[in-house]
Structure formats: C-alpha cells, structure tokens
Amino acid sequence: MRITCPHCGERDRREFTYQGASEIMARPDADAGVSAFADYLHLRDNPAGDTRDMWYHDPCGAWIVVDRNTVTHAVTGSTLAREGRT
C-alpha cells in the first residue's frame, strides 16, 4: 500500500503509523462532559467504503489526513492535519 505524504510524495505504507478515523481531530470543548468525550474517543462510523483517517509519516513527522477506501484500499487524497480538515 502506498500513501501520499503532502510533503514527501507517495511512500510505502511502512513509513507511516496509523491512528484511526479523522473524527479524532474534532475534540469536544473542555467542558463538554464525560459522555461527549467518551463518544468522541470510542464510537466510530467504521465505514465499509470511503473513509478519512489519520496517518503519521514517521520519517518527516507530519500528521496527515488521508482519503481512502476500506474495501478497495484505493487512496484518493491526503492533506496535512495542520490544515484542520476533519
């Protein structure tokens, strides 16, 4: 599997660490309460199909958001997490 790092270009999957659905970027407000945080951290759409998830390009240190398909493994795009897209 190959994934495009917006900095480094297309790279082998072995260069990346995975961190799940990009929903994780939408952290609730500090006072949102336990139940909001529990849902945020644990519940997932877990789609069979198009998804958007977080990957860390270990050698360059960039967290990226990748558009991907969980059934075909097609990778259709990626952006830097810094850009704030969930």
């Binding site: 480094c8 270009g9 072995r14 050698p59 240190g61 960039a62 830097l80």
Partner: protein, 180 residues
C-alpha cells in the same frame, strides 16, 4: 584542566570498500535543526542565506554553497550545517543537532543498488537527482537519504544507530558484490 575528547559516531568502523561501493563516514562539525515559527518561513530563509549562504530548502531538497548546506529534514524543518550558530531568535526554533546524527557516504557504481536493498525509495537518477533528499527509512531506521553525485549518496540516521547502519550497508554491499 581536563579536556574532553570528541568521538565520531562511526569511529573505528569506516571507511570500507566492498565490490563497487565505498563507505566513508561524513564527519559533522556543527549542525542545527532550524524550524521557522508560524508565518516566518520567508524571513528565516532570508536571514539564513545572509548568514550562511544557503537559504531554507524546499521540501525534499538540499542547498549547498561553499562550506554550508541546508537539508530539508521534515515538515517545516531543515538541518543547517554552517560555521556558527544561526541567529534567528524570534524567527525560528534553532536546536543543536550536530552530535545527534551518524552520516555515511556511499560512492561507486554499486551505491544505488546497495541502498536499493535497504531504502523503500525510488532512487532512479531520473527521479532522484543530485541535490534531492528524502526522509525515509534505511532498514528499520528513520533516515535522511540525499543524492550528492551521479554515483554518490549520503545517509543520515540517529547517532546511536551508527553501528547498525554500517552493518546493514556492509551486508547489503556484500550480497551485491557476490553476484558479480
């Protein structure tokens, strides 16, 4: 007064020639990680160029001039090798890294094929030209790989992994040489 004695990361291990590749240690005198603060990229590049002759490199590139080099080493970071600590206060985080890195140079017709045993990168000269650099892996080690000549590369890993780096390059070169 006592004096501390400096050692290089690959002390006593290099150089060596195996088949068509020669491995030599690149001794780093001084180097800094330069990471511009938000919105300061252009200012940093200008200031760097004025001080060292090389500006802030584009992603995946190395700039060289006289004795100075700046090598892109990751998102918003460059490794700057020059005389004297760059004065960039308020513009960038400057962090000493001259002792953090083990660097080995590969020269010879088999240099590319040796690295192809270890590095998951497209190193064909048509795509990875002189002055191109990449953050990637050498075996299991995070590394910077830079093409410094038609048949020459420089590889940088963490200092503590110097022995593994030399060993893996040596093994790759041996297997390759045995085919000849």
């Amino acid at each position: 007064m006592v004096k501390l004695i400096a050692q290089t990361p690959c002390e006593g291990q290099l150089p060596m020639t195996i088949g068509d590749v020669t491995l030599t240690e690149v001794v780093i005198q001084t180097a800094w990680n330069v990471a511009p603060f938000a919105g300061k990229e252009a200012d940093v590049s200008k200031a760097l160029e004025a001080q060292s002759g090389v500006g802030f490199p584009a992603a995946n590139r190395m700039l060289t001039k006289a004795g100075s080099r700046s090598i892109w080493v990751g998102a918003g970071r460059a490794l700057v090798q020059c005389d004297g600590l760059p004065e960039l206060s308020g513009l960038a985080a400057v962090t000493e890294q001259g002792d953090a890195i083990a660097a080995v140079r590969l020269d010879g017709p088999a240099a590319e094929a040796t690295l192809a045993r270890l590095v998951p990168l497209d190193l064909r000269v048509s795509t990875f030209k002189r002055g191109h650099t990449a953050r990637s892996f050498v075996g299991h080690m995070a590394a910077s790989v830079t093409r410094v000549g038609a048949e020459a590369f420089e590889v940088m890993v963490m200092r503590s992994m110097a022995r593994t780096l030399v060993h893996e390059l040596e093994e790759a070169a041996k297997g390759l040489a045995a085919r000849a």
